[in-house]
Symmetry: C2
Subunit: 703 residues, 2 copies
């Protein structure tokens, strides 16, 4: 699909220039010096020759076929250049020039026009405002980013051209080989989703490392990312993670769900490994590129020094992985082969004077030990240490079945060792802590790859009834659905909602109370009142007709005294819910990724401790249970100190139902069930209160 | 005090050897090649010459005076060597040899003997089992660690000799200058406290970076650390941060307080900056070595690329510091001097084609701007970028009043720029995130330096009464103090304890209830019952004499039914406490650092959320309030959603009182006040329940 861009037979450079330092010169120079063996056609109205090649004055005059056109001319000449390229039936266009969407309305309009033109002609467009791309397989350097990197299996891409230059420079210093480098610029046509799809099928690429500032479509991103991640790891650095300001939202879920939370949920869903720092991006990508995945979380440490060994063990425990316990025969075997002063636990301390053989003895034993899933090798440059020889010996001893990551700690003395490690496909890290952070994401990716298949349950529901309520509400622009309507909708989706009814006078209230049976609760229903209980608009546990009658009159009187102009729709009388544990489940629609589910324990846990977890809809039962488990307060659900636990599956089902509801009805942009009252295992949780916000009828629904 | 070690006029090496690779050879070689200008005396019974120097067969035969003796002989010969050194009145002994405390009982005994010998002769001993030390001021390399590092103002020390070699190697690679390097080994005599005290007065040292695995005395450490930190920053990496196993403890505080928590509290108290990774140790030390402290937390970012600028701004916000808002005249001035496409907010984007002058314009403006406390400079190696020239220009433009930290991102292309930065005293970091982490600790250290003076309040208390209770209890080995005794102790220290009394029959109970006034609470008092309410041993809110009478009989009957053999001391009848917010305050005695105070909100906050904070006693009121503020649940204390807050000063005073109590009585090893019931501002919190554990009479009290 992007073959004309990555594997062209011929490349034209419009704006090729004789003047060093000009972009059109540098690109041409890069193309030639990179060693591309296809045709290279410099184009410039001035004609003449550049690098002894004849310059074509206008692309049309060139007789041969053109696959790829690189445009590096001032903005005012870009449109002509695009026309020329399309007339020559070029299918890949790299638009280097800047001054488009990023610079204002005029540029934006031109960018859109060019994009449409390309689409009309079935040509793919990279950029504008980008550095171009590199493909090491065919020595294609269609960029002004720099020189051709070494061939390798890491594909890097970046939305920031500047960061592309840092990435290339860093890869060179760390001697990492790349398969591709793509600067995606303004993403007018080709964006991260196209790239992920292309790179999924690219045999030269084993791991993708990218930098993003935004994404163009949440849904497409998740599909593309999930597809590629099931074949190879993708590590992404996403900036802009702090929310600029507080959002105005009507629900708890809405307040707590930020843009960054949504990205986190989307990455997690689709298997993308998130890097929090520029260094981590390369730390992770390097290990994925070079080493197999760990099949478990039990880590063995081999070291020539106690201190750094302890540092590594600390880091392993902090990360949530395990310090492996060696099998007894492994320890016994080591005892025979290492000096008696060595330590045979974990860390295995091969001592400060360790020659390479001690490292390899320990390594071989660890590779054979079924209790070990991953191996960390630490070396400090003590007088007797031989970093280079040790690295070589380790490289020879490796069987490639478990990941082996090294930290040769120091500077110039360990450098020869590090180079040997890199050459042998063994990643090296400056500190044990960075090794561990890397192993951790490798293990997480392994876990993601081996997760059970996702089976989203579809419950039988009354969809038409919900359709009617929503349509009618939006028609009258009633976007904030009250408790009564929200509960009707939830009941239609199979929620256990207490029997109740809206009444408008005391006698109706009594009648309704008798119908449902005592005790009952009464709640004011008014579009003007959000915090009902603060206004005296809630009465609970009314046990007699008289209490209901008195309650009705008192509530009406007091509220009208406080806010005489309030609109009151009536009072909702419902059967009291049996007490239980109060939790909150909710949904907030992210503009990019759609419905994002939230779970948290009620009250202070959500409001003060912000102990909540998020997940993108649609959700499976496993994932819903995982949401509960990843709150800090999970112990309360399980039951503590002899107390019985609550119905965890019931909460999970609740999450699954609101997942289905908000997937079916994108018109619902916020939803809170608060509290959702959960009883012992085997009982059905009850919706004690609920509210929803709809998108207004004049806004388009984002799906 | 350690002058004979760091500034000797003459150094003898016992065990000097002709054979390269032997420790005694390498040390001598290092001493000579390091450039030490004092006398160097090789000692070896074989005699002859080494490096053309005559070898003394036995130290006694040498006529001159000896300040420092380095001993590098097999363990069996160490004692003789030490005798020789002491006979020659050497005042500084560096014992390189291993095989002492770290290798078992025999070694330990020998180590103790040697240490005592040195003390008796007023000689100071470094080691054993160490690499020695380096002093760049007098070119003294009394080590086999490696070659002499560049002169500079960072002193490094390490409990792990291996890590010393990594430190030296890394310092060399990063071109950091050192003042001293000390390998402290087994710390038989000279330990971290001696070093901190010495380095505090060392004019060559501006910052100390050290690695520790344990400390020898908590109290001395805090004193020494506090003293040096008030003059210069100390950065420490402490390994062994995960607790091996769960401790058995009788109190909440005891369960929650781990060794690592105690180290954290001790470091915080004494101003020590804690590094969590090996890299951070040097990242921080470098910045402290080169740059002034920020006087506030408002950070300005100057960048030639948007993406990395955003990454830096994200990191600043995540760290809790602030992205500075430029003063309006600064922005205006920049507008005149930078191209119009540049961004004049924060980050200031000087654009991808920025020549050095744009960086310096922005830098000068930021240095003048009173809204800016610290400056981050980011450079990506885009085609037009000039890393080297930019670094030079920045170095010239710096006025040294605010910290300026750089991140030249990439590899070989930015390397010349990095070297220029380092040479000019500008720290460079591989990623914006590491810059921000470093700025953050600089700001924290600035805050610590400028904290108000610590004034520990001494309350008037009845110390003798407590003395009596504790002495009597320990005499009978009653180490777990019950509620009655605990409350008596707490009342003696000024706590508000409800009026109550221990009764042994129903009529006494009624009488006591009448005396205090209804309603009352009744609680079983038994050394065999820990969870009173689980056994039916608690009755609350009894409002009549009949309820009290019935309550007494029922409680006795039921408990004896459940555990017929239980020892019951009686039932405690006390006045019901008015309801309020339940918090826990407590103390757990750390073996190293003494009483460690804990605060947390009651119930689930402590048990499930572990939302607690710790502080070492003695505590000031400011510090106690800070403890409350640093819990996640602080909002509940302040009052939420129109609810009134509680008496925060009352809780602080409670913490101060238990601080005084456990400082006065080291016999108390655990103390819980749970719950401590707090009312509105202006009320006095009440001890609703309390317990204490004493150290047994046959154990020595650690002070």
């Amino acid at each position: 699909m992007l073959d004309h861009l990555f594997s062209p037979r011929s490349v034209a450079v419009i704006g090729a220039s004789k003047t060093p330092g000009k972009v059109g010169h540098d690109i041409l120079a890069n193309l030639i010096s990179g060693g591309f063996t296809g045709s290279i056609i410099p184009v410039n109205s001035a004609g003449g020759t550049i690098f002894d090649r004849p310059v074509v004055e206008r692309l049309q005059k060139y007789r041969g076929e053109i696959d790829q056109v690189i445009i590096a001319v001032p903005r005012k000449n870009v449109l002509d250049a695009v026309y020329d390229a399309l007339t020559k039936k070029a299918k890949g266009i790299i638009l280097i020039s800047a001054g488009f969407k990023e610079s204002g309305q005029e540029g934006k309009a031109l960018e859109e026009k060019i994009t449409q033109l390309c689409r009309d002609h079935n040509a793919r467009l990279l950029g504008p405002n980008c550095l171009g791309l590199l493909n090491t397989r065919n020595n294609l350097n269609s960029s002004f980013a720099g020189s051709m990197p070494a061939r390798g299996n890491i594909a890097v891409f970046s939305q920031s051209g500047a960061l592309c230059t840092s990435m290339l420079d860093l890869a060179e210093e760390r001697r990492l080989g790349l398969s591709k480098m793509i600067s995606i610029g303004n993403k007018a046509d080709i964006n991260e989703n196209d790239l992920l799809t292309y790179l999924a099928g690219d045999e030269d690429t084993k791991v993708v490392a990218g930098y993003l500032e935004n994404i163009v479509s949440g849904e497409k991103f998740i599909k593309a990312a999930e597809a590629i991640c099931s074949r190879k790891p993708v590590v992404l650095l996403k900036s802009g993670t702090t929310d600029a300001g507080q959002k105005a939202a009507a629900s708890h879920t809405g307040v707590l769900a930020g843009t960054d939370t949504a990205y986190g949920a989307a990455f997690k869903r689709s298997g993308v490994i998130r890097a929090d720092t520029f260094e981590a991006l390369f730390d992770y990508a390097t290990a994925f590129s070079m080493q197999p995945l760990p099949r478990g979380d039990r880590v063995l440490i081999i070291t020539n020094a106690g201190g750094p060994g302890t540092m590594a063990a600390d880091a392993v425990e902090h990360s949530g992985m395990k310090v492996a316990e060696l099998a007894s025969n492994t320890a016994a075997a080591l005892r025979g082969r290492l000096p008696e002063e060595a330590r045979f636990g974990n860390p295995v301390d091969v001592l400060g004077d360790a020659p390479p053989e001690r490292y390899t003895e320990a390594l071989r034993a660890a590779q054979k030990d079924d209790n070990v899933d991953a191996i960390i090798i630490i070396l400090t440059p003590q007088v007797m240490a031989k970093p280079k020889e040790t690295a070589r010996a380790i490289a020879r001893a490796i069987d490639g079945k478990k990941p082996v990551l090294a930290s040769f700690m120091g500077g110039s003395k360990v450098l020869p060792g590090r180079s040997e490690l890199t050459a042998a496909g063994l990643p090296n890290y400056e500190s044990p802590e960075r090794v561990v952070a890397t192993l951790k994401v490798m293990y997480e990716y392994y876990t993601w790859l081996n997760k059970p298949p996702r089976m989203v349950t579809r419950f039988r529901v009354n969809r038409r009834r919900v359709e009617r309520i929503i349509t009618r509400s939006r028609r009258f622009n009633l976007l904030q659905l009250n408790e009564v309507k929200s509960k009707k909708i939830l009941a239609s989706y199979g929620f256990n909602v207490p029997d109740g009814s809206l009444v408008t006078n005391a006698e109706e209230a009594v009648e309704q109370a008798r119908r449902t049976g005592f005790p009952v609760a009464m709640k004011i229903v008014s579009p003007d009142i959000v915090h009902k209980s603060d206004m005296g608009g809630v009465k609970l546990n009314l046990t007699t007709a008289q209490q209901v009658r008195d309650g009705f009159d008192l509530m009406m009187m007091r509220i009208l005294q406080q806010v005489p102009s309030v609109v009151i729709e009536g009072i909702y009388v419902e059967k009291m819910v049996d007490p239980g544990l109060e939790v909150i489940i909710g949904v907030s629609r992210d503009p990019q990724f759609g419905p994002m589910l939230m779970f948290g324990l009620g009250g202070i846990f959500v409001e003060v401790m912000k102990d909540v977890t998020f997940h993108l809809a649609p959700i499976t039962q496993d994932e819903a249970i995982q949401m509960l488990k990843s709150t800090r307060s999970y112990d309360i659900l399980k039951g503590k100190r002899g107390q019985k636990g609550v119905d965890i599956v019931g909460i999970a089902k609740g999450l699954q139902r609101i997942s289905q509801l908000t997937t079916d009805f994108p018109q619902i942009i916020e939803l809170d069930i608060n509290p959702f009252i959960v009883g012992e295992t085997g009982t059905d949780p009850v919706v004690a209160d609920g509210s929803m916000t709809l998108i207004s009828a004049d806004k388009q629904i984002i799906i």
